[in-house]
Amino acid sequence: MCHIVCFGNELHGDDGFGMRVYEMLCRQVWPNDVKVFNAGVAGLNALRFLENCSRVILVDALANFGSPGQIYVLKSEDLAEGRQELSGHGLGIPYLLEALKAIREPLPDIRIVGVEIEGVRPFFIGLSEKTERAVIETVRLIRGLVIV
């Protein structure tokens, strides 16, 4: 079973990247062993979406990885560098993955698909041009990762 879990907040500009990808993914037909989830800003509660599956693809906006609009496929160890953010509702993927490691054995195969965004814009609906342009390509890339 493969779970595709999308994160983000569409009310804050480019932070809604994962939500746009989720919308596009929902319009497609997937094999029976693939499920698509909207995790929004669920934080630690998103652990639920990482259960009962052997593979996970997490989709989110990225910062400080490269230039805006670039798409990255990362493994969880790629996030391990530097200080990890530890907070509450806004937990973020590094915290979620650490939590998963603490409670689940063996771990599913995890990939993180993200795009470097131009920036978060509070209370603004819609993505910047470069981020929007990356959506279709991201969906294509996820399809390639899932259907192998």
């Binding site: 804050h12 934080g43 910062a63 907070s87 509450g88 806004g90 973020g92």
Partner: protein, 512 residues
């Protein structure tokens, strides 16, 4: 003595809260608590149908959404004078308790105790034990809390369809009755968590723990054997006291509690006049007495907040929440400054236990005052009480099968008028004040528990509770002020975070 200003980003706390502190040497001489996120729910609700509050207000928070829903539904029931059947009150109480238990376990063992693993405490005798229990992602208690806390809110999903952000409490009751399947599944979830709590958190059966009533009984219990001393609460207590948290972070002596959990036996009275299982009140810190609580005594000030100014303080039924961001003025936060009888107050599990008259917490408070350790201890003491109360509620529901879960209102429309809903969320007193005119919401004011605690200065220049908890504190290393982490985290701060993205950049934070 040189004056230094430091800005602290409280990373592990819930959401966006910063502190700007002024230090003379290593002593804090002024503190500003900065809520850096504007939410705007009061504005969003204006002009909408009253029932929309049931869908929108649970979204205020991803942790206390059930409490927000309860406050909203109580405000609507108050306005429309609607009765609620006992079964609905039991289901509501059960779900509110489940949410609080989850939040309290996470706050205690994912956020608060992590500070005991700070390298600064390396030389303390308990350091290795503290790390083995509390180190993030590795400690036994940390991992246990991570695993066990997440399942208890499934009880809300059973009765409310989903968690978080559910809308199953409706005027007159709840949407679904308690089926035997719900009750069996709920009991199984509860028993699993209770077993872990007894084994790992208190190292003792629940009833024995709750029987401790005096400070001597408690400290004797602590020393009565390894299972007690090395339990999570034993370690938390011993480590706190080695560091001196029982002398830190007292803040304001005034406390409020709205009381918690409507009494299902009190079917005669409408909310807000219904009896509560845990009592409401005002602890007057000057007189040392507990006085009846009256919501008419609440006001909110905006003198130091980024809202359109008005003079003095206003009761929520006259209140307004109009953003007016002025970053370069002396205003400094998106929090308003709520006051009770014009006094700075604190709220939370310590206030609730004292006002309810809980004997052990009272005894410890009389001995040492309201400090950071006792605040945290009161929170975990509450967990024990709630686990027991949840079991009773499930059995009561099972003993009354087929009772109505809703008394459908005769009129589908909520009439014009005003009402309020006061509840106890995990972090303390939560209130919604609602006015309806011409069929739509004309005013909606929310005062969250964190608004009370994280309050800025008011029109008279009086500091809020957290601010006054820090002023006068001596910080050992101003570049790594772990003491501030202990004090503020003991309140379970929550200024909800809505922005979230993956960031590899570095920020200045309180350890780790």
């Amino acid at each position: 003595m040189s004056r230094k200003i430091i800005q602290i980003d409280m990373n592990r706390v819930e959401g966006d809260v910063d502190f700007q502190l002024e230090l003379e040497g290593s002593r804090i001489v002024d503190a500003r608590c900065v809520g850096s996120l504007y939410r705007g729910f009061e504005q969003i609700l204006l002009g909408r149908k009253p029932m929309d509050a049931l869908v929108m207000t649970p979204r205020i928070c991803g942790i206390c959404g059930t409490a927000q829903l309860n406050a909203a539904v109580l405000a609507l029931e108050h306005l429309a004078r609607l009765p609620v059947p006992p079964a609905a009150m039991r289901i509501r109480n059960l779900c509110l308790m489940a949410e609080t238990v989850q939040s309290d376990l996470r706050q205690s063992f994912l956020f608060f105790t992590a500070d005991f693993c700070h390298p600064k405490y390396r030389s303390l005798p308990l350091y290795d034990k503290a790390r083995a229990a509390f180190l993030p992602f590795q400690g036994e208690i940390y991992r246990g809390a991570l695993e066990h806390s997440r399942h208890i809110v499934e009880i809300i999903a059973l009765f409310g369809g989903q968690w978080p952000h559910s809308s199953y409490m409706v005027p007159g009751g709840v949407t679904t009755p308690a089926s035997s399947r719900h009750l069996i599944d709920g009991l199984s979830l509860l028993n699993k968590l209770t077993r872990w709590f007894e084994k790992s958190v208190i190292g003792t059966p629940l009833d024995d723990w709750l029987a401790l009533q005096s400070a001597d009984e408690f400290f004797d219990w602590l020393e009565a054997g390894e299972a007690h001393a090395d339990s999570a609460i034993g370690l938390l207590t011993r480590m706190s006291r080695e560091i001196g948290l029982h002398r830190l972070g007292c803040g304001t002596p005034h406390m409020i509690s709205y009381g918690a959990y409507d009494d299902p036996e009190d079917v005669e009275n409408f909310s807000p006049y219904r009896k509560r299982l845990f009592k409401a009140g005002f602890l007057n810190g000057d007189a040392g007495s507990i006085e009846p609580f009256d919501q008419n005594e609440i006001t909110e000030h905006v003198r130091y907040s980024w809202f359109l100014p008005y003079p003095g303080g206003r009761h929520p039924f006259q209140g307004q929440t109009v953003p007016d961001y002025q970053p370069h003025s002396d205003r400094y936060t998106w929090c308003k400054a709520p006051r009770y009888r014009d006094k700075v107050v604190q709220t939370g599990p310590l206030a609730d236990a004292l006002i309810d008259g809980e004997p052990l917490i009272h005894a410890l408070y009389r001995a040492e005052g309201g400090n950071a350790w006792l605040r945290q201890f009161a929170r975990l003491h509450r967990t024990a009480r709630l686990l027991k109360a949840m079991s009773q509620l499930l059995h009561e529901l099972a003993a009354h099968p087929g009772e109505p879960h809703i008394l459908p209102p005769a009129d589908k429309e909520i009439p014009d008028g005003e009402g309020f809903g006061l509840v106890t969320a995990a972090r303390g007193a939560l209130g919604h004040w609602l006015q309806v005119r011409d069929g739509v919401i004309s005013r909606y004011q929310v005062i969250t528990p964190t608004a009370w605690n994280a309050s800025p200065k008011d029109s008279e220049g009086r500091h809020g509770h957290w601010e006054s908890s820090l002023i006068g504190l001596t910080v050992e290393d101003p570049d790594d002020p772990v003491e501030i982490g202990h004090i503020i985290r003991s309140h379970d701060p929550c200024l909800v975070c809505t922005v979230h993205l993956l960031d590899t950049g570095k920020r200045l934070t309180v350890w780790p």
